[in-house]
C-alpha cells in the first residue's frame, strides 16, 4: 500500500504534492499551537498519552453505533482522551501514584483495551500500521467540495481544527497564558486553572482525533511536542512561541515531504524526522539557549577569569617589591596551564596589558590599571566578608577570588561606602585606589 501510494505521489502532477504538503503543514500547525502550552506546562507526554487513547474511543464508538459516521467517532475519541487526562490526574492526586507512572498506566491500559476492542469488531478492516503511520500519501484521493474549490478531505478537516484551536486560543488567550505559567496564581485570581486544563485537553483530543486518520499517531505526537520544544529554545515570549511553533510545524511538514520523496519512503515518518532534525539544529545553534552559544559563553567567561588571574598575579608580585619577574611559562603553569592559559596570556599581550621583556612578563601602565581594579575588588570583598558576614580570615580569599571578576566600579564604590572608606584589607594589605 505504501509503495503504491508513494509512487503515485511521485508520478502524479505536482498539485498533488502541494496538496499533501499543505495537508501536513495545516495539521502540523494545528497540533503545534497546542503543543506550545503542553511543553510549557511540562505535560508534553500528555499529548502522547491522549493520541494513544484515541484508539479505544474510536473502537468503542464504532461498536456502539456500528457506523463510520464522523460524529460518534469523534465524540468517542474525545471522551477517551478526556478520560485519560482525568484518570491520570485522579490517580496522581488521590492515590499518590507518581505523575508519570499514572500517565503510563492509564494510556497503555486504554491502548490495550482499544486493541482488544478492535479485534472484537468482526469484518472491519483495521490496518494496525495505519494507526502509527497514517496515510498522508493518499490525502489527495479523497476530496470534498468547498465552494468552487475541491480540497482533500484531510486538509479540510485540518483547516477546521486549526480554526477551532486558533479561535479558542485567541478568545481565551490571557486565561491560557496565566494558567500555562502559574496555575495556582490563575486559580487565586479567579480563572479556574482546572477548567483551562481540561479545555486544553479537549482541544488536544479533538486535534489528535482529527489528525489521526490523515497522518497517524506518530506524526500527531511529533507535531504536538517537537515544534513547540524547538520554539521554546528560540524565543522567550508566549505569543511568538505559539506562532513560531506553528511555523516550525509547517516547515517540518514541507521539509519532511521533500525528503520522503527524495528517499522514496514514508511521508509521515519523514515529517517526524524532519521536525526532530529542526529541533536538533535549534539545540546546537539557538542564539541564546543552544549548546554552541552556551559553550562559547562558558569559554569566554573562562578566558576572562584566566586573564584576570594573570593580571592579579603580576600585580601582586609588583606590590611585594620583589626583583624577580615571572617567566611566561611559569605564569601559565601557575594558573593551571593548558591551551586556555596560553590563549589568555596571548590575548593580554595583544591588548597591550602585559608586555614581554625577553623571557619575563611586565605589566604595561594600562595593564597595571586593570589589575589594580581587580585587586581592589578582591580586597574590598574580603573586607566585606569579614565585617558583615563575620568569616574568619583564612576563609575569605577563596570567595573573593571567585567574585572579584564580577564587581564593577559602581559596586566597588558602594562597597567602599559601606565599609567606611577602609583602605586596608583584612590581611593588612593596602586596597589600591
Amino acid at each position: 500500500m505504501n509503495a503504491a501510494a508513494a509512487s503515485l505521489a511521485i508520478a502524479w502532477p505536482s498539485t498533488d504534492a502541494l496538496w499533501i504538503m499543505a495537508t501536513g503543514a495545516v495539521i502540523a500547525a494545528a497540533c503545534a499551537v497546542l503543543g506550545a502550552f503542553l511543553v510549557l506546562r511540562q505535560m508534553s507526554m500528555m499529548g502522547d498519552a491522549i493520541s494513544h487513547s484515541v484508539l479505544p474511543g474510536l473502537a468503542a464508538a464504532f461498536l456502539v453505533t456500528q457506523s463510520y459516521s464522523i460524529g460518534p467517532l469523534l465524540l468517542g475519541a474525545v471522551i477517551a482522551g478526556l478520560l485519560t487526562a482525568l484518570l491520570t490526574q485522579t490517580l496522581h492526586r488521590f492515590a499518590r501514584v507518581p505523575a508519570d507512572a499514572s500517565m503510563g498506566v492509564v494510556f497503555t491500559s486504554l491502548f490495550a483495551l482499544g486493541v482488544v476492542l478492535i479485534t472484537q469488531v468482526k469484518g472491519v478492516h483495521f490496518d494496525k500500521q495505519c494507526v502509527f503511520e497514517g496515510a498522508l500519501e493518499l490525502a489527495p484521493l479523497y476530496t470534498v467540495q468547498w465552494g468552487s474549490l475541491q480540497l482533500p478531505r484531510a486538509l479540510a478537516v485540518g483547516l477546521i481544527v486549526l480554526g477551532v484551536n486558533t479561535v479558542a486560543l485567541v478568545l481565551l488567550w490571557k486565561e491560557f497564558k496565566l494558567s500555562a505559567f502559574d496555575p495556582a496564581l490563575a486559580t487565586t485570581m479567579g480563572f479556574p486553572a482546572g477548567v483551562m486544563h481540561y479545555l486544553l485537553m479537549t482541544l488536544v483530543a479533538v486535534t489528535a482525533v482529527a489528525s489521526f486518520e490523515a497522518v497517524g499517531s506518530i506524526l500527531v505526537v511529533a507535531m504536538l511536542i517537537t515544534p513547540a520544544a524547538t520554539a521554546h529554545l528560540l524565543v522567550d515570549r508566549l505569543g511568538p512561541m505559539v506562532l513560531l511553533s506553528a511555523a516550525i510545524g509547517a516547515a517540518s511538514s514541507v521539509l519532511g515531504y521533500a525528503l520522503a520523496v527524495h528517499f522514496d519512503t514514508n511521508v509521515a515518518g519523514m515529517m517526524a524526522v524532519a521536525a526532530g532534525g529542526l529541533y536538533g539544529v535549534a539545540v546546537l545553534f539557538s542564539p541564546r539557549y543552544g549548546l554552541l552559544s552556551t559553550m562559547l559563553h562558558n569559554a569566554r567567561l573562562a578566558l576572562r577569569v584566566i586573564r584576570d588571574d594573570l593580571l592579579g598575579m603580576l600585580y601582586r608580585l609588583e606590590e611585594l617589591g620583589a626583583e624577580r619577574r615571572l617567566a611566561s611559562r611559569d605564569a601559565r603553569t601557575a594558573i593551571g596551564g593548558g591551551l586556555l592559559a596560553w590563549w589568555g596570556l596571548a590575548s593580554l599581550q595583544r591588548n597591550e596589558l602585559v608586555s614581554r621583556a625577553g623571557e619575563t612578563l611586565e605589566l604595561t601602565p594600562a595593564g597595571r590599571d586593570a589589575a589594580r581594579q581587580l585587586v581592589r575588588a578582591h580586597r574590598l570583598w574580603e573586607n566585606y566578608l569579614v565585617q558583615f558576614l563575620g568569616l574568619p580570615l583564612d576563609h575569605v580569599h577563596e570567595p573573593a577570588h571567585r567574585v572579584e571578576h564580577y564587581l564593577d566600579s559602581g559596586l566597588q564604590q558602594s562597597l567602599r561606602q559601606k565599609l567606611d572608606d577602609a583602605n586596608v584589607d583584612p590581611h593588612g594589605r593596602e586596597i589600591p585606589e
Binding site: V39, M45, F94, D100, V115, K128, N266, Y279, S286
Partner: protein
C-alpha cells in the same frame, strides 16, 4: 532442547518477561522515569530495522543489539538536552520518542521496499508484538537476559536502592550516582527491547510501568516491592497468555496487569482508595464526636453540676447540627454510657462529663498556646484550635499543660478545664 508446545512457550516467555520487567520497572517508577520505557520501546525501532538492513537476518539477538544501540542513543541524547538546554525532561522524552520512531518508520518503509515485502514481516512484530512467532532460541535469549538482569540487580541491590530513593545523597556519599543511574536505565532498556517482539512497542511500556506501579501501592520496602512487582508481572503474563480467549496475547497480558492495578487501587492497605475513604470517614466521626462533647460541656459550663442536663434544641442550635445526625451521634454516645437521652433532654453521665471536659481542655489549651506563643488574637484562635484539637496526642497535651502551667487563665477546675479565653457564642462554631 526440550520440545515445548507453542502455547507453553508463549506462557513461559510471558511469565519470564513479566517478572523481569516488573523488577527493572520498579527502579524506573521509583526514579520517576516511567515514560522512559515508552521512549525506549519507540526508539528501538530504527535500530531493529538498521540491524536488519545491515545483517539481512531476522535473528532476535542481532536485531536486539541494534535496538539497544538506538535505544541507548535516545537516552543519551535525552539526558544531554535536559542537562544542557532549556528543554525539560517531558518534552525531551517526547521529542526523542517521536523523532526516533519516525526514523524507524522511514527505514522500515525503505527496507520493505528494497526486499519486496514479505521478508520484513518479522520486523513488524517489533511494532505490534507477535508472540506466536516465538522460537526456542528467543525463549533462551529471554531467559538468559532475564537471569543476567536479576543477577545485576541482586549484586548492586544496595547501590540501586540508595540511588533510587535519594540520588543526591548517594552522590554526596561518594557513590558514582550517575553511572549507577545509567546502569539502571540500561537494564530497563535491555529488558524493554527483549520484550518488544512479544508485546509490541506501546504495550512493552505498560509491562515496565504497570506491575511496578501496582506493587508500589502495597509496600514501602524495596525488596518487597521488587518481589511483588515480579510476582505481579509473572501472574499477568501467565493469565494474559493462557486465558486470553481469542484476545491477542500482548493486550491480554497488559489488561491482566491493569486489572490488578485497578484492584490494588481500591484495596491497597494504606494508599488504596477504600482505605483512604475509610480513614476520612473515621476522622470525620472523631471530629463530630469531639464537637459534640465540647458543645455539651460549654452549654453545661454556666451552671456546674454532677450530671448536667441540656435540652436537645439548644444543643442542636449550638453547632447548627443536622437533627438526624445529632440524634444518631447521641444514641451512639448513649450506648457508650456517656449520655442518657430522655424526651428532649440530654443528660451527661459523670463519665460523659469527664470525656467532655477532656475534649474541651484540649481545645482551650491549644487556644491558649496559639495566643501565647503564636501571638494570635483571642477571636482568631477558636477556628485554628478546631483544626488541631482532634489530632493532639496525649503527650503534646501534657507538654502544653506543663508549658502553660503559669498562665493565670489556667485556674484548673475539678476536671481541670481552663476557662475559655474568648466569649462563647452559640451557633458560631462550624458543624
Amino acid at each position: 532442547m526440550i520440545a515445548l508446545s507453542l502455547s507453553m512457550k508463549v506462557t513461559l516467555g510471558a511469565a519470564l518477561l513479566g517478572g523481569v520487567a516488573g523488577v527493572v520497572g520498579a527502579f524506573a517508577v521509583l526514579r520517576g522515569r516511567s515514560l522512559v520505557g515508552d521512549m525506549l520501546s519507540h526508539a528501538a525501532l530504527p535500530g531493529v530495522v538498521l540491524a536488519f538492513m545491515l545483517t539481512g537476518s531476522r535473528q532476535l539477538a542481532a536485531l536486539s543489539v541494534g535496538a539497544l544501540a538506538t535505544g541507548l542513543a535516545a537516552i543519551g541524547l535525552m539526558t544531554l538536552v535536559v542537562r544542557w538546554t532549556r528543554t525539560k525532561e517531558d518534552a525531551a522524552i517526547g521529542v526523542m520518542l517521536s523523532s526516533f520512531f519516525g526514523l524507524g518508520v522511514v527505514l522500515l518503509s525503505r527496507a520493505t521496499r528494497s526486499t519486496t515485502g514479505g521478508n520484513s514481516a518479522g520486523l513488524n512484530s517489533f511494532l505490534f508484538g507477535e508472540p506466536g512467532n516465538m522460537l526456542n532460541s528467543d525463549l533462551l535469549l529471554l531467559a538468559g537476559v532475564g537471569t543476567a538482569a536479576l543477577l545485576i540487580v541482586t549484586l548492586l541491590f544496595k547501590e540501586f536502592k540508595l540511588v533510587a530513593f535519594d540520588a543526591d545523597f548517594a552522590a554526596s556519599q561518594g557513590w558514582p550516582a550517575t553511572r549507577l543511574d545509567l546502569a539502571m536505565m540500561a537494564l530497563v532498556a535491555v529488558v524493554t527491547i527483549i520484550g518488544l517482539p512479544m508485546v509490541g512497542v506501546v504495550l512493552m511500556a505498560a509491562m515496565i510501568i504497570v506491575p511496578a506501579a501496582t506493587a508500589r501501592m502495597w509496600t514501602h520496602r524495596l525488596h518487597t516491592l521488587l518481589l511483588l512487582a515480579a510476582a505481579i508481572g509473572v501472574f499477568a503474563g501467565v493469565v494474559g497468555s493462557r486465558y486470553g480467549r481469542g484476545v491477542p496475547a500482548g493486550p491480554a497480558i497488559v489488561l491482566a496487569a491493569a486489572a490488578m492495578f485497578a484492584a490494588s487501587l481500591l484495596l491497597a492497605p494504606q494508599q488504596g482508595l477504600l482505605a483512604r475513604f475509610m480513614h476520612t470517614v473515621r476522622l470525620q466521626r472523631r471530629v463530630a464526636q469531639d464537637h459534640l462533647l465540647r458543645s455539651l460541656y460549654e452549654l453545661a459550663e454556666p451552671q456546674p453540676q454532677e450530671t448536667p442536663a441540656i435540652d436537645f434544641e439548644s444543643l442542636q442550635a449550638d453547632r447548627r447540627w443536622r437533627p438526624a445526625r445529632l440524634r444518631r451521634l447521641l444514641e451512639k454516645n448513649q450506648q457508650q454510657g456517656l449520655v442518657t437521652l430522655s424526651g428532649g433532654v440530654v443528660t451527661m453521665t459523670p463519665v460523659g462529663l469527664r470525656a467532655a471536659a477532656e475534649a474541651t481542655r484540649r481545645h482551650r489549651l491549644w487556644e491558649l498556646y496559639m495566643m501565647r506563643v503564636a501571638g494570635a488574637a483571642a477571636d482568631h484562635v477558636d477556628r485554628s484550635a478546631d483544626d488541631v484539637e482532634h489530632l493532639l496526642p496525649a503527650a503534646v497535651v501534657l507538654e502544653l499543660e506543663a508549658e502553660l502551667e503559669a498562665d493565670p487563665k489556667l485556674a484548673f477546675a475539678a476536671p481541670r478545664v481552663p476557662p475559655s479565653p474568648h466569649e462563647i457564642r452559640a451557633g458560631e462554631g462550624d458543624r
